[in-house]
Symmetry: C2
């Protein structure tokens, strides 16, 4: 029997070899955890930094089964994977975290919303198209989301007028949500290990760039009152417990203009809204995920700094070819600046190429530095189109 105590000599498979997997590997090295990775691209960020890397279709049940059948544990860094393959692995005795049923639930934004409603988890009003509900009951504007396959804002559109509803149409299997009058977008990462120990990270605040619908900056702790922060953390834990979830999960919430909290979506994995935890918290989301997966005691996740922030490094508009990280050298002379490049060999417009975390003594200083970074950093490319 392998040593589940320290995880040493365990073989852990990760579906997906992107930046989330890479940062997981950096944390796994500390515990000598043997991580093996499958990703469709041979150029995936993880490819050079793992005991075993294979290319394969994450949505093909047979590929997933073949990759994992001889491993001790399987986990994910992306939720768009073959649940059928994972169920087959679970049947054959491989420990799968998170559970295939949880991944299936989260893959379908319709089922996810229904789950929130069924478990009295506050969320925006919605209807499922195939349910043939009365659209007018939602009013306008409406947020229309494809039930499956959406990612990083793709598969989401806003219907502002009845004309939109006709023009943009309703594809099969989508969920319509009443648009929330959003005051703030918040995030809470929660984790649970096999012995039932749970952990809740401090609440973070996300600022989205509407142009690309990606988080453009993040602030920790969120600029909200203690009462709201405690409620947000309690809600995130409620979702985890309602699902009986094992592993690490990111919960996205809205604080609306009435001061009410609504759960928007959850991700059953490490998340962009937790990247700052590498430098800003006593235990990072990546280390915590591994602890949960291997069955180790969960770590203390309190903040190491009064304030922290993060900006994504996105490929510039029209940037192609080999990435060039303009301004990054100078940025490193700013105190508390921690760059993380993902090692992607090609840049594309708005592609996530890395992120920069800023830590500091107070939120104002951190925000000043984030602004300075946003103005001085640019990921261009060797080819311009």
């Amino acid at each position: 029997m392998k040593n589940l105590q320290t995880g040493h000599s365990l073989r852990i498979g990760v579906l997906g070899g992107g930046q989330l997997g890479l940062m997981m590997i950096q944390a796994a090295i500390d515990l000598d955890l043997r991580v093996e990775v499958m990703d469709p691209s041979e150029k995936a960020p993880c490819a050079k930094f793992t005991h075993r890397f294979i290319t394969g279709d994450l949505n093909d049940a047979q590929s997933v089964y073949q990759f994992g059948k001889n491993l001790d544990i399987i986990t994910i860094e992306i939720e768009h994977v073959s649940v059928e393959g994972l169920r087959k692995l679970e049947k054959s005795g491989v420990k799968v975290i998170p559970k295939p049923d949880h991944i299936a639930l989260i893959q379908d934004k319709g089922l996810q919303k229904q789950f929130f409603e069924d478990n009295n988890i506050p969320t925006s009003d919605f209807i499922l198209i195939e349910a043939g509900g009365n659209i007018s009951s939602l009013g306008l504007p409406i947020v229309q989301k494809l039930r499956t396959g959406g990612y990083d804002g793709r598969g989401v559109q806003i219907l502002k007028t009845t004309a939109d509803i006709v023009e943009k149409g309703f594809p099969e299997a989508c969920v319509l949500e009443k648009a929330v009058d959003i005051d703030k977008e918040l995030g809470v990462i929660v984790a649970r290990n096999s012995s039932g120990q749970t952990s809740i990270f401090p609440v973070v605040e996300s600022v989205f760039d509407p142009k690309v619908n990606l988080v453009s900056s993040l602030i920790a702790p969120a600029n909200i009152n203690k009462n709201t922060a405690a409620k947000a953390q309690a809600l995130a834990l409620q979702v985890l417990e309602a699902m009986d979830f094992e592993g690490l999960m990111a919960v996205e919430l809205f604080l609306d203009s009435d001061g009410d909290l609504l759960v928007n979506e959850v991700a059953p994995r490490t998340h962009n809204s937790g990247h700052h935890t590498i430098e800003a918290n006593k235990t990072s989301q990546f280390s915590q995920h591994l602890r949960a997966v291997v069955g180790l005691p969960l770590g203390d996740v309190s903040l190491l700094h009064n304030a922290a922030g993060m900006i994504n490094l996105l490929g510039a508009a029209g940037a192609y070819g080999t990435p060039v990280y303009e301004g990054l050298s100078e940025a490193q002379s700013i105190p508390g600046v921690h760059p993380h490049l993902y090692g992607k060999s090609e840049v594309k417009p708005y592609r996530k190429m890395g992120h920069v975390t800023v830590t500091g003594p107070d939120i104002d200083l951190v925000q000043k530095r984030l602004l300075k970074l946003r103005e001085s950093l640019c990921v261009s490319g060797t080819k311009e189109k």
Copy 2:
């Protein structure tokens, strides 16, 4: 021309693939620095985590040259390497940091002591055997060190009596040092980049285990008065500047019973006495070394915690085979405990298998936790001899 600004796309070669190289790679991933490694053992900790790993004799000039000739930068994680090979690489236009002359100086403990004396850097009285000096002038006890090849305390012996001098004898090329009445053993890590910017880490205090002559625990900051700390940092910087050193260097000092500081030895690389900086300082020694090597601005090295400590995880007496990290799982439920395993496939008695850093609000609590760890952790093996 490669992007020296961010280091991105630079090819950096590291001589030595042990734990120091591995922790350097973890830091290099953040900046997407392409690290390539040569080590004599195919089982070296770095083997699975680098863009290119080759086996080769670090002391063979031709192997070192062949490994490095197509790279942009060469650096080291161990000083026992072929200086001839490095000089050849430098001539062929490869940037070598630290400079071959500095490595040569430090490889020879005799030349090193002579350098301290010639540059008015306080150090213990000594004579070089081939110099035929008057041994009696040193008095007893005498510390006898092989001039070259010593490592982790090997090649060092204490001569307590005149009988010892006769019995243990004088091998060729050794340095005899007057034994210092040591109050504390201190360490200061300093760095300098190509633009001449320097950085000095806080002073640390090392506690040695006489049984194996390896650091058994380390405390940061050192438990000394501010004045002594400032003097130790100034001395470390004096050594760096006297050598015109570029890169990162660890300076070991003695605080003697009269309260005087003496420089013992320097290492031209990251060092065991700086492992705690990964969690305890705003910039780790590994990140700082890379910044210096690539020519980036050096980072802020102030402590993140009031106190930090570190213990090495050494193979237990009689432990062979596959390592078993007893007590490590439980240890991770202690706040502020950060294990680092080196991924060595075989344990041997007193072999460095990993380390554990402890961070905390005060030195007493950190020392209590270190003691608890020392009692509860053991690296045994699957084979006992």
